[in-house]
């Protein structure tokens, strides 16, 4: 069944879009990532113009995150206090990111900048997560190995402005979560994603949050970041395609519900190793685009008169 998208101005197969939304929603429910880093390249691939893909992808992530958060809420997997602190940092970082994005656009190299950020950050985070989760999986196989302590006290715990995060069972300074939120907001604005793939490992490794609340809290703050992005795109470039979003969302929310349930069955290490492989795969794919000679050296983009 073909559907004409009013803003993207292309005709696409409705079932293909439903399927895409479903797959991305599944992954997002399973790992607590919004899926923006997957949906945007996939939409490019089926011929949706880049601006529409980025903006509509953000809108879809709002829906799958709402669906995911509600599923997590029932099992008390959302640390709201932490969520709000991360969000406060996130908005500050996002504002800075939008400003840098504009500077890069004026310099005419925004595509390259975005692609390089993808390769560097996805590659780095993927590799770190993969190595860490592999190590903890191997440790779990050998029961007589040295036991790793749940909380390692470091300089982070010496910082002032301590706050109690009951759901996470943490009593730490608000500075690290604010900084993590700001970093993620900054990258999210530049890369056009919710930032879950950075947020999830940052919460586990930097803040020491228990895996149980990581996914729900990450999704909670992604809702707000992507909602902000969607409205910004709708107002500044009118590039949100409601028809495309609706199809992606219908697939995505169902996928997110199934994904959340599958995710609960898997062990935390397995989950992290799968997510890290996915992140590495996307990073390699984009790196290949940059390194291999393209078949067509020329590209055409419509510009405003």
């Amino acid at each position: 069944m073909q559907v004409y998208l009013p803003i993207a101005e292309v005709s696409v197969n409705a079932f293909l879009i439903l399927g895409l939304g479903g797959i991305v929603g599944f992954l997002s429910g399973m790992f607590g990532v919004g899926g923006g880093f997957l949906i945007t390249p996939l939409l490019f691939f089926i011929g949706v113009p880049p601006a529409v893909a980025v903006a509509t992808g953000a809108n879809q992530v709002v829906a799958s995150s709402v669906s995911g958060v509600l599923a997590q809420l029932k099992r008390k997997g959302v640390d709201f206090t932490m969520g709000w602190v991360l969000l406060a940092g996130g908005f500050a970082g996002s504002a800075l990111g939008v400003w840098v994005f504009r500077l890069m656009t004026e310099a005419g190299q925004v595509d390259l900048f975005v692609q390089l950020s993808y390769v560097v950050f996805l590659g780095l985070i993927g590799a770190m997560m993969f190595q860490e989760s592999l190590r903890s999986m191997l440790r779990a196989r050998k029961p007589d190995g040295p036991v790793r302590r749940a909380h390692v006290h470091s300089w982070v715990h010496g910082l002032p402005f301590k706050m109690k995060f009951r759901a996470s069972g943490l009593y730490i300074s608000v500075i690290p979560p604010l900084a993590v939120g700001a970093l993620v907001g900054f990258l999210a604005a530049i890369m056009g994603v919710g930032g879950g793939f950075i947020m999830v490992p940052a919460m586990i490794y930097l803040l020491g949050m228990p895996t149980k609340v990581v996914i729900g809290t990450s999704l909670f703050q992604i809702i707000f970041v992507t909602a902000f992005t969607t409205v910004m795109h709708a107002v500044t470039s009118q590039s949100v395609d409601m028809m495309l979003a609706l199809l992606l969302i219908l697939g995505g929310v169902v996928g997110a519900q199934i994904g959340t349930r599958v995710g609960m069955r898997l062990k935390a290490e397995q989950l992290r190793i799968l997510l890290s492989l996915l992140v590495i795969a996307v990073s390699v794919r984009i790196a290949v685009d940059l390194l291999v000679e393209p078949a067509e050296h020329y590209s055409v983009a419509a510009v405003l008169p």
Partner: protein, 253 residues
């Protein structure tokens, strides 16, 4: 006064004796609705003559073009810089049509002269306006060829040589397929009659392409009330997310 009138009549007479086009189209408007998946337009016509076809001249040929609305475009070239392929040069083209199809009765270079192509702006190379691009980059011509290649691969630009059927030097017809990635606007249809590689008559028609129904509503709302549109998109996302969660709870319960 009478002499002037006679002179005008004398001038007008050969013109009247010439061949003219009487043309029609299967439809002069295309509605883009939610299930729009391309459209086929039949363009047909007849050659009107007040006298028998002229003796001693070459055969009659027909060219039909369909041209979508034009916009300025940026053509970028990727080069390898420090091992990475990146957009390294850009040329702005003042105006390039979003769609262009050209159908003929025979091989283009056999039936159309360069002078008449230039005068009437018939082929795509003559339709694209790129004034002063040579100043923007060296080998600016390569950028234009790149533009033509990219859009031809996207099926936006087509040359259909020999796809106009001409019967008994009088009736002609051709089918032009409009693709599913159509943009809104006025599509200009031009018909040319040629003999000896020269244009002897031409005519212009317009096909209006418009979004209708739900497509129209969404498009207008996005343009006219962007903030409301953005918020509405969020509400839709929120309801869908909550709905799916509630539905799954019911299924499990």
């Amino acid at each position: 006064m009478i002499r002037l009138a006679l002179l005008l009549l004398a001038l007008a007479l050969p013109a009247a004796a010439q061949e003219q086009i009487v043309a029609g189209m299967s439809q002069n408007r295309v509605s883009i609705t939610a299930d729009f998946d391309g459209s086929e337009i039949l363009i047909y016509g007849a050659v009107k003559r007040d006298a028998p076809p002229p003796e001693g001249r070459g055969p009659l040929e027909v060219i039909v073009t369909v041209e979508g609305p034009s916009t300025p475009v940026a053509v970028r070239r990727k080069d390898r810089v420090a091992g990475i392929w990146l957009n390294n040069a850009e040329v702005r083209v003042d105006s390039a049509p979003s769609f262009f199809a050209l159908a003929t009765t025979g091989p283009l270079d056999h039936i159309l002269s360069d002078t008449d192509n230039l005068r009437y702006g018939i082929t795509i190379e003559r339709v694209i306006r790129a004034v002063g691009i040579t100043a923007e980059a060296d080998k600016a011509g390569e950028f234009l060829l790149g533009l033509l290649r990219v859009r031809t691969n996207e099926d936006r630009y087509r040359v259909l040589q020999g796809k106009v059927e001409l019967t008994e030097d009088t009736l002609f017809r051709t089918d032009i397929v409009l693709p599913s990635n159509l943009t809104e606007g006025e599509y200009k249809v031009r018909l040319f009659l040629l003999r000896d590689r020269k244009v002897i008559a031409h005519q212009e028609r317009v096909i209006g392409v418009r979004k209708e129904g739900l497509e129209r509503w969404i498009f207008n709302l996005a343009r006219e009330q962007p903030l409301l549109y953005g918020l509405l998109s969020l509400v839709m996302a929120g309801i869908a997310g909550w709905g799916a969660s509630a539905a799954f709870r019911l299924v499990r319960a």
